[in-house]
Symmetry: C2
Subunit: 326 residues, 2 copies
């Protein structure tokens, strides 16, 4: 174990990169992978989609909660969900990674394994095709993800029409519940609900379900159901009505965890707040013509003329995660 | 001036982004710009090139040397040069920007103006199509740039063949000279050589020249002529010979600045070291069949059988900038 316990700085950039890149594997669309000035990616048509998202140590993840594998997995998953939300099949990721002087080579390799594992599990059509490694005061991961529209039109946020059905795919509130458990001073709580913690650390958006959904409008629920529903309503110039009865299943699976937190804090935590206002599940919110909701999506409401979002008859505020002011 | 002197945090993410994104303009290939989950980019064929590079405050730039405009300009220029080095025409940039709690909105706007200005001047075919803004302990810019191969084959580092001519486009050593002047304790030095400082702060790689060059092999000179020539030699499995006589013009324009530094330091600084071992000019090193060196490129040597790089008859070590260990 030549490199055991060594930092990336001690090993040197070139050796460390060689060790790390070895964990990535090309896919059919990877015409030229990493090693030249740019990568070259093949598509089924002459258009591609692109999105970028960054994660910052101390704000988006903590090294005492997340392993390198977790950080890599989540960085891939959150960007793949933005590609899939356009109805595009993920094909390529490039990764700008900033590490610190103390970052171990083993962390870097673990990070690479997490990235590749997310691709294997969520989007086997995609590869890491390039990246950049540099030093900073804290770990930062900036992933840019690319998708192939497969000769289909992109699914925009602006396509929802009155009379359509509002539906979601993926989990709702589990990532927020997991974060509450991780942050709780009673450290035994997180260990009691490993599935919720797992969704926070390694979200598993149903990428293939979204890509093939054929939605009229779609976005990925990154900041909260309430906030992202308001974005969809605004972009489509419609009103969205969410039925609380359709959210009961999402609430039910969080009730026990909410009770555990409530018992320790001596106050009543309603798990509906995780479902409505918690982010980071990275599921999908979409609208479909009546009768066209595909398998993997669950109807939670309707698209109507007007503006804003209502939960039953009450206005639902655009409350959720804000990457700058939170 | 509603926002005068305010930080991005005080203004809030949404307002700050609206103010900033207003400085970007779409181009013909921008099918869907920023505002949805991903952007959609049109191409002339079903392949695209992609590259990513990051710049970190305190390592790649200093806020006392560089304005927001400079940082934006350089972040665009360095990534555009990686796209052009593949023989691809730049079409789209996405920008992950990390700012601090103290970053003023005016800095952010200035940064956006610098990005757009680099596109206007160096690659008017390209647009900023998306981004991500978040908080960190220092400013970090991670740009991912995309190019259209215009139905041509990509120009790789591996295409140089014995018998070809080695040539460069762009400046050599000016960026390194500019950095030496900026870092010198005699602060009057930088003011005496504004052109050299300008190349360091806002490099202007000849993008269009590279895209249309039709080279056999090409890369952008980011880390140093010596280091990047060794990369080209290694990828092409050839030996490169650089003629010192062909570098005289590059050295001559740096001599006065070198003398000024030498006079203050009481030792003899040979400006050839800036030309050979200085990075950040982001010009291009390429090989061409004999008689095919296009306008804008200047022959500096030859491609031969063998390995490694020689300056006249002496081996030229792969010395230059290393983003992790430097």
């Amino acid at each position: 174990m030549k490199y055991e316990g060594k930092t990336v700085l001690e090993v040197g950039e070139r050796s460390a990169l060689a060790q790390t890149v070895a964990h990535f594997k090309p896919v059919a669309s990877t015409i030229i992978g990493s090693g030249d000035d740019s990568a070259v990616i093949g598509l089924s048509s002459n258009r591609f989609v692109v999105t970028t998202d960054s994660m910052v140590e101390g704000r988006d993840f903590r090294l005492d909660f997340s392993s390198g594998f977790d950080v890599g997995y989540k960085a891939a998953a959150t960007n793949l969900s933005d590609v899939a939300a356009m109805g595009a099949q993920p094909v390529a990721l490039v990764v700008a990674l900033l590490i610190t002087r103390d970052t171990k080579l083993s962390w870097l390799e673990d990070f690479a394994k997490g990235l590749q594992s997310a691709l294997d599990e969520l989007a086997p059509s995609a590869a890491v095709v390039g990246g950049d490694l540099a030093l900073a005061d804290q770990i930062v991961v900036a992933v840019t993800a690319h998708g192939d529209l497969l000769n289909q039109k992109p699914i925009l946020r602006s396509g929802a029409r009155p009379g359509e059905v509002l539906a979601v795919a993926g989990t709702l509130g589990k990532a927020a519940a997991g974060l509450s458990l991780l942050l709780h001073e009673d450290k035994s709580l997180a260990a009691s609900y490993p599935e919720l913690v797992q969704v926070q650390l390694r979200p598993r958006p149903p990428i293939a379900t979204a890509v093939s959904a054929g939605a009229s409008a779609m976005l990925d629920i990154s900041d909260s159901l309430a906030l992202d529903a308001n974005r969809l309503a605004s972009a489509s110039n419609v009103s969205l009505r969410i039925n609380s009865s359709d959210l009961q299943g999402y609430v039910a699976v969080l009730e026990q965890a909410a009770q555990s937190v409530s018992a320790r804090d001596g106050k009543n935590l309603d798990p509906i707040s995780w479902v409505l206002f918690g982010g980071e599940d990275h599921g999908f919110l979409a609208s479909f013509p009546k009768g066209s909701v595909p398998a993997g999506f669950k109807a939670i409401g309707s698209v109507e003329a007007g503006s804003g979002v209502h939960l039953d008859s009450e206005p639902l505020a655009a409350k959720g995660w804000d990457s700058v002011s939170s």
